[in-house]
């Protein structure tokens, strides 16, 4: 068994990372930049999407640090497609709800669950089929990530988090399934500031917390004219 590595970055290679975000909404921008800077390679990343060219997880694709993506939709990224079609990048398609549930299950100590999503499709190939009530379900496995990189709106110093609008998306399930969960937020506040009844993700799931400013790029800016109102 290989135990000696040539560099710190090399020693960290090959991690399974669960990342929060949907499109570019609620993505851990700061942590993605930190992973780019670290130079770790051969990463497997479970994330609904793969960012866009040059932003979000697209940055880690540009630097070829990702070996495999587990995603439901990757249509917004030309570099992703180029690497995938040339065989440089592995891709495991997961139905979106299956991906979210795999993360949630991993975080909840559930190694597998049966779902009707994907029954009779390519997704079911090679998976165990079991009947419940006369209907077929397929076995999907929980994701147990080495590292979760996630983003919330606010957190207190004990890690209790609040998300904002649809930026919540995959962040709670991704956070739950990480052996180590690193959370970036827009604002860290003192305990007692956030109403305990309004916490979306309890601090037990959050191991490390950082505050920073986010670009929050909009992918599809759509508006209506005021006259129409």
């Amino acid at each position: 068994m290989k135990k000696v590595y040539g560099s710190a970055a090399e020693a960290l290679d090959g991690l399974l990372i669960a990342a929060g975000g949907f499109g570019l909404c609620g993505i851990p921008e700061l942590l993605i930049d930190a992973i780019v800077d670290s130079g770790v390679k051969d990463l497997t990343v479970a994330s609904n999407n793969a960012g866009v060219d040059g932003f979000g997880l697209g940055k880690l694709l540009d630097t070829r640090q990702i070996k495999k993506m587990m995603s439901s939709y990757v249509g917004e990224n030309a570099e992703f497609m180029r690497q995938y079609l040339s065989g440089e990048l592995e891709l495991e398609f997961n139905p979106q709800g299956t991906l979210a549930e795999r993360m949630r299950a991993g975080g909840a100590g559930i190694p597998g669950f049966y779902t009707k999503t994907g029954v009779g499709t390519q997704i079911a190939e090679g998976k165990e089929v079991k009947q419940f009530g006369g209907e077929d379900y397929i076995l999907e496995e929980g994701i147990f990530a080495d590292l979760a990189i996630v983003k919330a709106w606010k957190a207190d110093t004990t890690g209790n988090c609040i998300f904002r609008k649809t930026a919540r998306n995959f962040n709670p399930p991704a956070a739950m399934c990480g052996k180590v969960c690193v959370m970036e937020v827009e604002e860290i506040v003192e305990p007692g500031t956030l109403d305990p009844d309004h916490i979306h993700l309890p601090g037990i799931y959050v191991h490390r917390l950082i505050q920073g400013s986010h670009e929050k790029r909009i992918e599809q800016r759509t508006v209506r004219k005021r006259e129409e109102a």
Partner: protein, 207 residues
């Protein structure tokens, strides 16, 4: 003569009943929201929202508030937010009454293909497989034929499936068909379209 995009959307809106929670797909299905009239319909966006509002006014876009097509949207008084696991929990759990979505092919047994064309760019299924497997009623809205004039309403799908035996109703530019035992049943024809026109454009068995 046949229905245009807006007429198809208006016809699809007739499928919705007061009090329904509904998920609308991208494209023509999105237009359905313009035709619900006075009906009390709550739209789900599978990235984690119930009670989806219209596009924001210019200058009021919020990067933290998007729909499943990644477009900026707004919230309503009834809106609630939740994470992706809960969102698909309500989809898979049958809490969403109906999904209206587009398709590349539909077969007479209710099979649906709308996520990949082998050899072409594969973008992924997103939430489509979960939706068609889980919601109460699956309504497909699409053109009856492809750009080569070939029927998209088939005896069997040729493309990789999104779901097996999942479609309940098909609304096309030519009319409305239901998936029933043994094939498809014509529910109605679009304005200016005869049953013979509809049959001629349909490869699937019509019973």
């Amino acid at each position: 003569m046949a229905w245009d995009r807006n007429q198809m959307a208006a016809r699809a809106a007739q499928e919705l009943e007061d009090g329904m929670y509904v998920n609308l797909g991208i494209g023509i299905p999105t237009l359905v929201a313009n035709y619900v009239g006075d009906k009390d319909i709550t739209l789900q966006s599978e990235n984690g929202m119930l009670g989806m509002g219209p596009f924001p006014f210019e200058g009021e876009e919020d990067p933290d508030l998007i729909n499943a097509g990644k477009q900026t949207i707004t919230e309503l008084a009834r809106t609630s937010y939740f994470d992706s696991a809960m969102s698909f929990g309500m989809i898979r759990g049958g809490k969403i009454a109906a999904a209206i979505l587009g398709a590349m092919e539909v077969a007479e047994n209710g099979d649906l293909a709308n996520w990949m064309i082998p050899g072409k760019l594969v973008k992924g299924m997103g939430g489509a497989m979960d939706l068609v497997a889980g919601v109460g009623r699956v309504i497909v809205v699409m053109d009856h034929t492809n750009k080569h004039g070939e029927s998209k309403v088939l005896k069997a799908c040729t493309l990789p499936l999104t779901g097996k035996g999942v479609v309940d109703r098909i609304i096309t530019n030519l009319g409305v068909l239901d998936v029933v035992e043994g094939g498809l049943r014509i529910v109605e024809c679009a304005e200016g379209v005869t049953e013979d026109d509809l049959r001629a454009a349909t490869q699937a068995t019509i019973v």
